[in-house]
């Protein structure tokens, strides 16, 4: 499958052909773009008129170049990648819900302001944490690199247990030949010098939650007593980023229907000195006033286009930053298996709640239909994993003609189930945003690789 698309940068139209199956990207002139659309896609509108006006010998010359690329296996490569199901029973990553409590009351929180719909605030004990580490090591098979993500609620509200779990896992890792990479997601309110130093020493990656501009952040991310939190969060996050040096971190925000001009928030975060930025669309039911709806998609697409222009200019002119969804490793990237299987939820990636219950991922916590077991009593069933094991992009009919299929893997399992009722049916709003970001990422990669010549 060949995906033909255009991108305008600084008044110049760039024309691209993306060969989905081979992962080849070609920058072509306008004539070749028209011939490609005729050869591989659908010609319509102005393109059809322009193509009709082309000389036959020029079309033949371009067709010959395409034939050469096809012969070399970098254009119009047929789909050959097949997979039946994921391996189950070997686990490599756990999301530890270190507490179901939070010192913020974010209006869009999928975890019901940190409590995950439970009637009381729950804190993971060290005993549960230890059992979770034992469970991970036991189920990790031959894998050497294991991951533990401390998540909440707000994990720094239970920091002493986090520290003990890290220490225990490091000890057990030495005994069993396992290397632990820890990550932690925090709203920053409890960050102080001592905590920052500890996180910098122990955490492979830290995600700092901040939505951007003060008015945007404070509208939805209020403290328990109803006050805005942005000023405190920003100060702590900046301090953290400064001390983080070259280790991984992200500032991670959420945009909603209230700030469809979210590029302003990304640029705001850039201007505050952050270099690793992720701003994600909120995922909420349609009846929420904050929900992203189909009618918002044209504006969101225009925002991503604006971001791409700012991104290219900014990186070329001394204000360098990364945007999570514009980073593509076109020359390497993950292996085919990873591209087909995606996040691994329910199979190699599981979540453990404060009381030890095991779920396919953090988004399912508390949904008892999806409970796989409990780390405290060796109760663990693979029945639910089997359902997730077939969640492979080649098994999803709606993904087969998508140019981004090997980069998105067919969407978030939780979103697919919660919004479409089926793990194999991608959530269409996410798809549209993904496709737009992917196309822009390809254009950015090409322009940065070749300059603007």
């Amino acid at each position: 499958m060949v995906h033909c698309f255009k991108y305008n940068h600084k008044g110049r139209d760039y024309h691209f052909l993306w060969d989905v199956e081979s992962g080849s990207l070609h920058n072509v002139d306008k004539d070749a773009y028209l011939v490609a659309k005729n050869r591989y896609g659908v010609l319509d509108g102005v393109d059809l008129q322009d193509f009709s006006a082309m000389q036959d010998n020029l079309v033949a010359e371009i067709d010959k170049e395409f034939e050469e690329l096809e012969h070399n296996g970098s254009l119009n490569v047929p789909a050959k990648i097949m997979a039946t199901q994921k391996q189950i029973g070997e686990i490599k990553a756990l999301c530890l819900h270190i507490c179901h409590d939070c010192n913020l009351r974010c209006k869009y929180c999928f975890a019901d302001e940190g409590t995950y719909h439970s009637k009381c605030k729950e804190y993971m004990s060290f005993e549960v944490g230890k059992k979770a580490i034992d469970f991970l090591i036991e189920k990790s098979g031959r894998r050497q690199n294991l991951e533990v993500d401390f998540f909440g609620g707000e994990p720094l509200m239970n920091l002493e247990v986090v520290k003990k779990i890290v220490e225990y896992a490091r000890e057990q890792g030495k005994t069993y030949g396992k290397n632990f990479n820890f990550t932690l997601t925090t709203n920053c309110l409890l960050l102080n010098d001592e905590t920052i130093d500890w996180l910098n020493k122990e955490m492979y990656n830290v995600v700092l939650s901040i939505d951007g501009r003060e008015e945007v952040h404070d509208r939805l991310r209020k403290t328990a007593n109803g006050k805005g939190s942005q000023a405190l969060v920003l100060k702590a996050a900046k301090k953290f980023a400064e001390k983080r040096e070259d280790k991984s971190y992200y500032v991670r925000g959420t945009f909603t229907a209230y700030n469809l001009d979210f590029v302003q928030d990304i640029l705001y975060l850039r201007d505050q000195g952050f270099e690793q930025i992720s701003i994600e669309p909120v995922v909420l039911p349609d009846d929420s006033p904050m929900a992203i709806k189909p009618e918002h998609l044209p504006q969101i697409a225009a925002e991503y286009e604006r971001l791409a222009k700012e991104y290219l200019d900014s990186r070329a002119n001394g204000k360098w930053f990364n945007f999570f969804h514009f980073m593509l490793d076109l020359e390497g990237g993950p292996c085919i298996k990873k591209r087909l299987t995606g996040c691994g939820a329910g199979c190699e990636y599981l979540a453990v709640t404060p009381y030890g219950d095991i779920y396919p991922c953090h988004q399912f916590a508390g949904e008892t239909d999806y409970k796989l077991g409990n780390v405290l009593n060796d109760d663990f069933s693979l029945e639910i994993s089997k359902k997730f094991a077939t969640n492979i992009v080649t098994n999803k009919p709606q993904c087969q003609n998508c140019p981004a299929k090997y980069y998105c893997s067919g969407g978030c399992c939780a979103n697919n189930i919660h919004f479409c009722g089926d793990i194999s049916t991608p959530y269409s709003i996410s798809c549209e945003m993904m496709k737009k970001r992917f196309e822009l990422s390809l254009a950015i990669s090409a322009i940065e690789a070749t300059g603007t010549k």
Partner: protein, 57 residues
């Protein structure tokens, strides 16, 4: 070629079919609400794109 400039040739083949399962699980990296894998890297590659830093001038 006169009309075509190939930017990336056969990127899928270069990404290989290792399947060792040692790479970072994507939901751990930053987003927590999407399962993008395009910005993940193979554990066996020297440079991980998630830690890409500002180029040295």
């Amino acid at each position: 070629m006169k009309h075509i400039n190939t930017i990336v040739n056969n990127g899928m083949k270069k990404s290989g079919n290792i399947g060792c399962g040692e790479c970072q699980s994507s939901c751990q990296s930053a987003c927590k609400t999407s399962c993008t894998v395009g910005n993940q890297s193979c554990r066996h590659q020297d440079e991980r794109i998630n830690t890409t830093k500002k180029p040295l001038l």
